[in-house]
Point group: C2
């Protein structure tokens, strides 16, 4: 049993067809194995909060997920509502289109508005690295740091690609020790988890947490 790994894992269930029974199971598993958080869609935050009450397992909700293509105002509203409903952490998707066309102020303002609305909770900025060139990944990391986010995160898990070791190394080099780095998307084995942490990740997003902590 790798309890050291469990404490780095956001135990994740984000598929749109998830139902309450699956969220209940996710929370029970998180309590049993001591995962850091459960990472769920906004619609399940109240249930997860109730199911995890009094425990050390946090509730992580996503915002603007998985496209990041709604307005800053909507993202801020969604984050504020998730925090009011009991979310401890907010994983938001960056404005990918704005980033790709060089509207960097726009991207930074979008992150700032979610950080502000989250009132001190941890905010992770999902870059969706599979859509970005290397310079765009670097810029997104810098904008996230400037905007006061606490983590940069590789992937939604629903794009054409997930976390890579090279991306995690690049993100860690860019943010230094100031921010956390969350690797997510396609992490399924203990060896994989160890490799991402070795590359600089401080948090892992995965739906394979039980396999990762029990088979290592």
């Amino acid at each position: 049993m790798r309890t050291d790994l469990a404490a780095t894992i956001d135990h994740t269930l984000l598929k749109p067809e998830a139902n309450l029974a699956q969220v209940q199971q996710l929370c029970a598993e998180a309590l049993e194995h001591g995962f850091k958080t459960v990472c769920i869609n906004r619609v399940w935050v109240e249930d997860a909060r109730r199911l995890l009450a009094g425990s050390s397992v946090g509730v992580c909700s996503v915002v603007g997920f998985p496209f990041g293509a709604t307005s800053h105002t909507v993202k801020a509203f969604e984050a504020a509502e998730a925090v009011a409903a009991g979310a401890d952490e907010i994983d938001m998707v960056i404005a990918v289109g704005a980033l790709k066309q060089g509207s960097f102020d726009e991207v930074r303002r979008g992150i700032e508005s979610v950080v502000r609305a989250s009132e001190g909770r941890i905010v992770k900025v999902i870059l969706e690295t599979c859509l970005l060139a290397e310079d765009e990944k670097i810029t997104a990391c810098r904008l996230s740091a400037e905007a006061g986010a606490h983590f940069v995160k590789t992937s939604t898990g629903f794009g054409s690609g997930g976390a890579t070791i090279d991306d995690v190394r690049l993100m860690r080099r860019t943010v230094g020790e100031a921010l956390g780095v969350k690797a997510s998307g396609g992490i399924r084995t203990t060896e994989h988890a160890d490799a991402f942490l070795e590359a600089g990740a401080t948090r892992l997003g995965t739906s394979s947490g039980i396999t990762i902590v029990t088979s290592g």
Copy 2:
């Protein structure tokens, strides 16, 4: 040139990495070919409104897209903001998880809140049929009608499957003539478009509109 088909097409660009230049091109194409609307993410509504000002091409924005897993309040807020920004039509994603666990009042209330927030604009309810069993598709159609929506729509175009002729027939049978039926996801040829309209669709969502209207 099939102008009859053009008037049924929502000319669609919903990928998260779309940028302003692509939205400008989409709007120019919609004006040239006389498409019914452009269907875009929330972040582009103001631009599309400006680019299409004075024309008969409408602006269609998506809400809770593509997962439908955010709260009713967030969806309503997003719809109201999109309408204020100039959207003529709102394509919202249903609460798939709630539907699958039988929380039908919850699903209906979610649609009602978006219909109310959209202040008379056309609201289409995306069922994401690839995730649903046949009885769930029928229930979703009935709940959409009861909630005052104007259309049921098959797919986001980002799920594991798109529109099928069988689904469109089922949806048309279920809603009768009271609602429109929008087929979307994977419609790429003139023959395909004709077949969906023949099966009962009254609107088509596609990014292949130019091929469809010019090669037929």
